[in-house]
Symmetry: C2
Subunit: 404 residues, 2 copies
């Protein structure tokens, strides 16, 4: 966190906010309930300061005393602190091409609510799609209220280029320059590219899992859905690029003179490894149908259906060609496969992707790329969005405390 | 610059070093000779502190009084300060596939010495090539001494993957795990990838030219030589990747089943837009020869030779396909074409590159990529290396002052 300069009183407030965030962060990162003494040791603040800050965090419902005793510095039992099980939740909302999803997560990283509605959004006017999404948020807020949880903010994920509160283009939704309101159901609303939000959710999950270890602080999160996008995370920070449009791997060419893509260019990765391309190539020769679900593809792959396995190898090879290019440019060693297509199909896609990486990445011998499936599974985007909706609480807890 | 924490005296020394660097930086960045009062205003240090620091910089030969008078704060004439015309120089050294080069640059950005020797290094043992390069440094140091200039450090550029003082692989030189000594001709020696050094040289030139404007602080520097590499500069910082191997655009596939590359993969960009590929395709039908120089290609292109122009359009299109992929991933808007192949051929390559970028970059409408030729021309790599050799003087001037 960056401290901004200011005059006396403003500076005091900023330091308090910074210290509150630091103490909250240590509570959230601790493997088990942490004592006030433990927090003082971890943050370098005095015990008196820590106690005052903890009192505020407890009074505001962000932190709770666990009641469990823990060995203190002198062996005495002390009160452990944890993220409050009744604290604020962040709501993630996803408008994707063939489904809408909503999820709520709390400061402990617990999933408090999740709903997915299969509904093709192609051809649906943006206003109507957003209205449908709003309905899902109303349902979520109602269910959360019944469980005594309060939502703080909503983060909307869309499969396209986002600039502030404007979706410049979402090719597979056919959205162009769609403005997104500042609030939804009375809650502040933020909006970002789906792969960016998923990558940040993946980062939060990795940091949560690995407790501050430097492992997995740099990775390329690749989201496979009807469209394909990526989030580039370098040393724990999402790389957004000049205008926030980084990570568009779905429109990198596999074969520059390949089939025409919805974006207008030729041979884009989406034409080889996007959901429609995979479903069509995998199911057509088996079922005679060009449409179907990823669950159908998974089932046939599990059954060892040769055409389906071959299709997934081809899609994996195309994905591998593009990711090898990205790795040659970025020298990132971890690739995470996520989204409703790549997460469940990772077992069949990954070997072909790895083969291309090994063959095509110049530095592969010394900086070996490896692939893993998303820790958040198929729902990484909406959960990542929920995590991001909570970010303001984590970084600026003072805003959620009565004193503000 | 990052201040490291320390005990009292060490901390004092660090602050002095930081302040010396800050004052030197202001002298180097100023458009015209700057007064002590001007330095105090620019740095926020007291005039007494500035005067003491300037005295040290002048005594050590890093800064000189220009003698020119300048209007001071109260309209009185004051003494202007400039980078010393007899100050230290950095030496850049380049071992490339078909030439060796050396250049020396001073703190004012003046080129003090430059020499290029055409000599094919393919098949030459690394020890022998480095011995040849050492001879060039001896010549440079001798010539500089005659002009009363002292070299501080040498930076060696090689077309390959570099890890500390080890060249992991330089495919076109056929170097594998070649150790690089810590010193050369008694001077400290650093080594880095050629495109990385060129990108940093380009950044130094841009900052020097644009005097701190944020323009051009993010760009993709693409070095076209026998091999093709890139340096990714994000907000003024070279992105090195996990192991320092970022920017390998030469081994990104144009056609995944294209011709085999020296790296072992298929269809790499070097096979379409590397020097050998361009020279062969451009000259063969015209001269019946597969070998020749880029100067020959430039001459024929200037004369409007259709086959040559067509070859450059094809090479530019292949380059554009790969750069469109990189821009889709990075969302970088400025592409700089440099190196002995791309800098002189930029007028013929750039239109085809731009066409592919416009067609293939999803965000092109809102984050328009544009192309320019390197500010340092064909010699960007060796000059960039010389700039980097001087970096220690700029950042740690105290080390070059007698007191240390």
């Amino acid at each position: 966190m960056r401290l901004t300069r200011g005059t006396g009183p403003a500076r005091q407030a900023t330091i308090r906010e910074h210290n509150l965030s630091m103490v909250l962060d240590e509570v959230l990162r601790a493997d088990e309930p942490i004592s006030r003494a433990g927090l003082a040791a971890a943050t370098g603040l005095t015990r008196a300061t820590v106690s005052a800050l903890v009192d505020e965090l407890v009074a505001s419902g962000l932190v709770a005393e666990s009641g469990r005793s823990q060995s203190g510095t002198a062996g005495r039992p002390s009160i452990g602190l944890v993220a409050s099980p009744h604290g604020p939740v962040g709501i993630g909302l996803e408008v994707n091409v063939d489904y809408l999803a909503v999820a709520a997560v709390d400061l402990a990283g617990q999933l408090c609510y999740e709903a997915v509605v299969t509904a093709d959004q192609r051809g649906v006017p943006p206003k109507e799609a957003l209205g449908h999404a709003e309905g899902l948020v109303v349902d979520a807020v109602t269910a959360l209220a019944a469980a005594d949880r309060t939502a703080t903010r909503v983060a909307l994920a869309v499969p396209g280029l986002v600039e502030d509160h404007l979706v410049r283009v979402a090719p597979n939704l056919d959205w162009h320059d769609v403005p997104i309101p500042d609030t939804i159901v009375g809650l502040p609303l933020i909006v970002d590219n789906d792969a960016n939000l998923a990558a940040q959710g993946e980062l939060a999950a990795a940091l949560n899992r690995e407790r501050g270890s430097p492992v997995s602080r740099s990775f390329l999160y690749v989201s496979g859905e009807i469209g394909i996008g990526a989030g580039v995370v370098l040393d724990g920070v999402l790389m957004r690029g000049a205008m926030g449009f980084a990570g568009e791997v779905g429109h990198v060419a596999v074969h520059p003179d390949g089939p025409r893509c919805g974006c207008g260019a030729y041979g884009c990765l989406e034409q080889y490894a996007g959901q429609d391309a995979i479903v069509r190539a995998a199911l057509m020769p088996v079922t005679g149908q060009t449409r179907g679900t990823i669950a159908d593809v998974v089932e046939l792959a599990r059954a060892g259906e040769a055409n389906v396995i071959g299709t997934l190898q081809d899609a994996g090879a195309a994905l591998g060609v593009v990711l090898a290019g990205a790795v040659n440019v970025l020298d990132i060693t971890t690739i995470v496969l996520g989204g409703v297509v790549f997460a469940p199909l990772a077992p069949w896609l990954a070997p072909a992707v790895q083969r291309e990486l090994d063959a095509r990445v110049l530095a592969a011998r010394w900086s070996a790329p490896h692939i893993r499936a998303s820790a958040l599974g198929e729902r990484s985007t909406v959960r990542g969005a929920a995590e991001m909706a909570l970010d303001a609480v984590r970084h600026f807890p003072a805003r959620f405390i009565g004193a503000r």
